[in-house]
Amino acid sequence: MWTRRTLLATATAASLAPLGRARAAAMPGVTATSIKIGNTNPHSGPASSYGAIANAEVAFFKMVNDQGGIGGRMIDFITLDDAYSPPKTVEQTRKLVEQEGVAFLFNSLGTPTQTAVRAYLNSRKVPQLFISTGADKWADPEHFPWTMGWQPSYRTEATIYAKYIQHEKPSGRIGVLYQNDDFGKDYLLGLKDGFGAAYDRMVIKEVSYETTDPTIDSQVVTLQSSGADVLVTAATPKWAAQTIRKAAELNWKPLHFMSNVSVSVGSVLKPAGLENAAGLITGAYLKDATDKRWDNDPGMQQWRQFMAKYMPGADLTDGNHVFGYGVSVTLMQVLKQCGDDLSRANIMKQAASLDNEEVPTLLPGIRVSTSATNFHPIRAMQLQRWTGSTWDLFGDVITA
């Protein structure tokens, strides 16, 4: 029944609708009281241990909402399972953008999975913010201005090793063992960045391996016989363990730098022999939750309180929770800087305008900085040495 009142109401609604739409179009995923953020992560399948990162983020945003949200808006964080399968990532990312209408994607995980959606997100101008991958290619604002990583890239890490070697062992003869794919090659590029013109003089041997090789023994022997006294190993865990073990068998004791994806006590050092690994050096940027030195650290206390209240029962030794907390704090800074303009363009602009931000779970002295041309938020690391029983931080923070 059309009464005058319904007619009036309809007319009013119709006249207001364009206004509402205009606003929604300018700031998709954002209302006066909420902001919707999307994420894909492997919650199932072989890579599902990374799901802990997204779980920490869900808990983190719950904490933020309990404390009143950000700028009066509650955070609606949606994380979907892609099982680390690129086709699934495309589907879930499209669901988040087109169905859920998220403002942006935050800290989605995986190099192949995020490669699959990079073109889609950039063509739609949806921020693909602080993704979880160490590949260096994400920092490419010229071609992909809507994509940004967070953690130090493999290339950054290798540059830091080069800087340290140049400073501490300028006459070192360096051997490089790398996995023959983009992961391993990023390390070669990083060493070249770090050594510059001195690369050809300092690096006396580059040896690669395939993940299909049955063992890595012959590569290690080749490197030893080349006379190298410094070894940079860019290997994934299984190969890292083999390298450490083989070098010990050969009684070869180079100054050994190991890719920081392969320094887990359980999956690398124990299989290699804890004693064999003594003296191994790697780069770190996050505080280690199991390291006693952070027991009274305000940043880690803040993290522990969060864990106790919002993730009771979760594994406190799992570094993924520390990572998830750190990257979420970085995002909060971006949103704070955005103020009331939560348009996608401004979110990206603010993400690229971080100025030396402190993050409680990053090592002291490591800050987050970005600019219109620097899409590497974390460019510094501190080295740590395996003592045979623990990782021991030493020296200053080194910036790539």
């Binding site: 072989p46 399968s85 169905q99 699959a116 023959n180 794919d181 299909t212």
Partner: protein
Amino acid sequence: MNARRTALWLFGAALLVAPAFLMSGYRLFQLTSMAVYAVAILGLDIVTGYTGQVSLGHGAFYAIGAYTGAILMTQFGWPYWATLPAGGAAAALVGYAVGFPALRLTGPYLALVTYALAVAVPQILRARALESWTGGAQGIVVTAPDPPAFLPLSQDAYLYLFTLAVAALLFLLARNMLSGRQLRAMIAVRDHALAAEAAGIDIARVKTRAFAVSAGITGVAGALGAIVVQFVAPDSFAATLSIALFVGLVVGGSASLPGALAGAAFVQFVPNLAETVNKSAPGVIYGVLLVAALYLMPSGVAGALRRTLPARLRTSTSPGKATPLPNKGATIHVD
């Protein structure tokens, strides 16, 4: 009766085409993916459902089709539609080769050999020797085709209709192939190989051909998938893909063409459903749903439909079980 049949067909076609004009991009993408899975499962059905040779390695054929398509498009500048037959042919060739061990191995042994293929292919795709073509672990980014200028369609709608057309064509081809003498020979090999041989069926030929055709169809699905997803990488074709296709085949109902469609719906939508039920343990929910589906429909969706639908509504496209063999081995007419 004939008019009614035509009307039914037209209605069905309209039902399939309608989403292109009614649904959003993301939903269309899901339906397109489902159509791609349906083609892949159709391929698997030919060798496993109809010929009885269990394959847990069809994800490998899918990957071969996808990579062939992606490489031809990005490095040789082939038009997207031309990559489909090429992807199918490449997969069929490999399928034919795999068909030979199938001559000696049966049941679980053959399943393991094909599974080995599924495990090996992602590794091979990462190999250095192939890297200049495959892009290694990084994979290949493919640009999806835009609709022809004269069609006022979005890219998603166009891809959906294109996939639908290819799927319809392949289902029709399969339907024609799975009839008469050939069908009976395949079913005889499945149900009683010894009797089939005694009846003069060339088992070797039936098996290797079934493998080649089956792999070829799944390969076309792979090439389609590469266009739809616009990306291929070794991680896209993990061994779990082969298992997913097998699950789709069994849940949909083996030896049934509509079953492939139902199976594809399961593969596409049930993991999402599981995730909405419980985010922290989607695998458990998926498992429960899978067991429930098999318990409630032991012969798949197609089997359940056969039992419940009145006879006159049944289509004639499910001949595997619908035309039971009279006295196994005794009265099969071959050649």
